[in-house]
Symmetry: C2
Subunit: 550 residues, 2 copies
């Protein structure tokens, strides 16, 4: 893979939308040589005096970078759930914090990290120190295959993707997306008259053969061939699938070959990649890695970003601090080629301007205190937390149901090649199946649902076997409630909120499955406390069993 | 003026753009009755556990509400500028602050003001306590003429106006704006194919007669009649003009009668309304007001918002904390009818989502500590600061130039009816004119520039008499630099940055004045320290005099 300047090899300017092309540079930009000078007397702008900013100091108690352990604790075998309440999360009594203080007054060595800067108007590219951190971070962690990549802040990936749509799409354009996808992404694009071409999925997310077929058979009478792809390649929302490098290469090459497609890589769960699920009884501690190799080992364990193979600069990567710091900071960044970055910056200037200075400052100061190594340490701790949560959720399901492992088959195309867990009503409460029961269970009992434990992210994507439901029949023309929504409502009435499958269908006119035959439910394990999760899974179990008796 | 529900009297739905109409409500909104319930187990959303938010506490030292004095100090007559360095701004040695602390953990009586809420995903309408504050504030301060007005946060007026454009304008639409206007507002609208119809101005900003003429003579072959007005009615940018209630009524009625126009009232300088400029020697202390009447007196002294006469709900008011708290908080709000508010909320959900939680929290906590009365006290102190700054800037001009007062005349249409100050080279350094000199000055010396001391805001809008320049000739076809830009460059080379007039021209094809004959310069007095301001005005004076000698 050659590391070359994208601009020398291909011209991406024809991707810009009419809207992006119509954005003007501020005419004062031509006078920038004066604005950059030191000691100029500023009668030009509408900047308030910093004397009038009512915050003299802002400070925070921030958790230390190694707040969460790196190793998964082994449960005591005697009592499967007594350790539940201390399994994950923080113990407030032992919480260690360090103090962050940001004064208003600038000091010579603060790098601009003071409230006089933070509370003033700021650049749409982000505060200088934050900008430097994310540029360095993207370089080290994602290792883009082209050299002149640019980073630029936004106010979270929803804002980021919305700006990508306005920068690249014209009315009547079609975007490529996974057939099950994040509905908010489509809601951002739809008002601009942008349609969606859903692509089939398997255990790694978007399928390359499906993409190739759709692009090669594209009917130009339906509109221009799609030139923008929206994809969540890690911990895909809702399926939880994670795409490996090989598949990314296949898809990238198809984007080059067939469609000249720009890839918008929405990757909020990148650092929440976890090990494969291992049933509780079979779990063993992982071998430790030498301290000096820990960062390399960690980064090497993550499915790489599309940037790593982006030798043409056709990837716009969206990073967010929402899952790694907190959603409320409303802060993230683009990594992309400088041509798109300049247009995205112009757009920022006439909409959000810069993200909130208080948010930027506290996040930057936190990162500055932690340093790159500390932030990586924080991320490593975080992913173990999500692994513990994923494991507990599946463990709890295995307490409530008899779970049978099987390889995904061709007809379960979405799960081809992975280990699928299928849930059956328990033969006897809390008992273990005998070997003979295990081998005959499929013939004797009816499966309720199946899932693949997710390899990243926050969700278990459950496939409901409504073909086993006594009331099941294919969905008719009439507007009666689907079994999927009947179950959703029964769960909600019982006190458990989930996200129904239809919510994630990319093309509502052509659902991948009939929700009366094969329903879906996205269940999040990211938020509930351990005890609450246990109660929730118990309610899910009882409600589901009752529902299938109807 | 009847106080009635707008929705009962007129239908505003035809104002919505195709883009706004195409925005969908989240399909899950139909399930809201479940999401609002208490004690639901949340397996639905992608919310991280609050355990993983790295900020345990955020705190701030906030200035007390009465940090700035309410009275303008009288200068000692002996030494006109010895008091300069203590005239405005804060004295760090006597600064009084109170401590704001926001912990992560919720408590029963915190109203949701904790980091568990602030750092989580939040509603596009704003945090509950902030939402309550601004709703109450808009009601008390602006007194909308219709009862069911709604408030909704945005990330500053640039974001606010940009969302108004997308909510109300289709491609090919024309918006109404003052002939000199805020260029960023046009830069937000132009990419959407939205053109501008500039309206003539006078000392109160937009002229009603000019608006009536333009709307009544509108040529439908040029496109749809404009149905959106962008206006800065207080401390107009760049002119500094402020519109009184009577003029607003005239314009509002024309919007009803002729154009069915929605008024977007961008009002960042509302609380920076100041008293008329009085030459230093003639200044006297203002009579004090009884403490119990202070708030009423203050609010009564401000030119009212368009909301006050908005009996049909056709005003979208844009408020920002940028000038009253700090630009870096990126926080402001809409006040408008519920129909538009709902569409603006949907738009927020697919772009910025909620503004930064740290910014919202610290501003809300500040307002909660200050209370409504304290915030009003803060605003009263702030406007005195801007009055001091405006006065000092004009005082400094009067030190450098001989300033002659005259009533604005019909041919100076923009200043018809106000007191215009015209600057002449000083007869002798720092001397006072004799009565006879005063009466003959216009005949003997050539005027350099004129201005009206602004009644609000941050800027002095200077009209340059280039017709008196030896090199002056009307601008030709060729692209040579205008006298306006030549002067701008000379000032920048001398170390003073100003904003050139052409930057604010609404219709660049039809400039209101020829910048070779009547140039303009917007000079901001909002930011410089007193000493810096003095140096800047001295440089301006020297550069201008040299320039006119060319």
């Amino acid at each position: 893979m050659a590391t070359e300047k994208w601009s020398k090899s291909i011209d991406l300017s024809h991707h810009l939308s009419d809207l992006a092309n119509a954005r003007t540079m501020s005419p004062l930009k031509g006078l920038q040589k004066y604005f950059g000078r030191e000691n100029m007397i500023a009668f030009a702008g509408g900047l308030p005096s910093t004397d009038y900013f009512p915050f003299a100091t802002v400070s925070a108690d921030a958790l230390v970078a190694d707040s969460f352990p790196l190793a998964v604790p082994s449960p005591p075998s005697s009592s499967p759930f007594s350790w539940l309440w201390h399994l994950f999360g923080s113990d407030k009594r032992t919480e260690r914090t360090s103090r962050i203080v940001v004064p208003k007054a600038p000091s010579p060595d603060d790098g601009g990290l003071n409230l006089s800067v933070a509370l003033q108007y700021g650049p749409a590219t982000g505060m200088a120190l934050l900008q430097a951190f994310i540029q360095d971070f993207s370089a080290k962690v994602y290792q883009p295959a082209f050299s002149d990549f640019t980073t630029l802040v936004h106010t979270g990936n929803t804002d980021g993707w919305s700006r990508v749509v306005m920068t690249l799409c014209n009315k009547g354009d079609t975007i490529i997306a996974e057939e099950w996808t994040y509905p908010s992404a489509l809601a951002s694009a739809a008002p601009f008259g942008v349609r969606v071409m859903p692509v089939g999925m398997d255990a790694q997310g978007m399928r390359a053969d499906s993409l190739r077929q759709l692009l090669s058979e594209w009917d130009e009478s339906k509109g221009h061939r799609p030139h923008v792809m929206y994809t969540v390649p890690v911990g895909q929302n809702p399926s939880g699938a994670t795409m490996k490098l090989e598949r990314k290469k296949e898809i990238y090459d198809i984007c080059v070959e067939f469609g000249n497609v720009i890839i918008a890589e929405d990757d909020p769960y990148f650092f929440l990649q976890v090990d494969d699920y291992v049933p509780k009884a079979e779990r063993t501690p992982k071998p430790t890695v030498a301290a000096k190799d820990e960062i390399t080992h960690f980064l090497g364990s993550l499915a790489p970003s599309y940037l790593k193979i982006d030798y043409q600069g056709r990837v716009i990567r969206l990073d967010t601090f929402s899952k790694t710091v907190a959603p409320g900071v409303r802060l993230g960044w683009f990594t992309c080629n400088p041509l798109f970055a300049e247009r995205l910056e112009r757009q920022g200037e006439t909409t959000t301007q810069s993200p909130c200075g208080l948010g930027q400052t506290l996040v930057t100061k936190l990162l500055q205190n932690w340093k790159y190594e500390g932030y990586i340490r924080w991320l490593r701790g975080l992913r173990i937390q999500y692994q513990l949560r994923r494991d507990l959720f599946v463990d709890l399901l295995s307490e409530e149901f008899d779970l049978m492992q099987s390889p995904g088959t061709r007809d379960q195309s979405a799960w081809n090649g992975c280990t699928v867990y299928t849930a059956y009503p328990k033969a006897r409460p809390r008992g273990l199946l005998t070997m003979s029961e295990k081998s005959t269970i499929g013939a004797v009992r009816k499966p309720l649902f199946s899932f693949v434990p997710p390899s990243a992210g926050m969700f278990v994507w459950v496939k409901l076997h409504f073909d086993q439901h006594p009331m099941h029949r294919p969905r008719g023309e009439e507007e009666e409630e689907t079994l999927e929504m009947q179950l959703w409502t029964a769960l909600a009435d019982a006190g458990v909120l989930t996200a129904p499958g239809w919510f994630f269908v990319a093309d509502k006119q052509n659902t991948p499955t009939d929700p009366n035959v094969e329903g879906h439910m996205r269940m999040s394990f990211s938020n509930a406390e351990a005890e609450e999760m246990k109660r929730g899974v118990a309610i899910f179990s009882k409600t589901l069993k009752d529902f299938f008796k109807n």
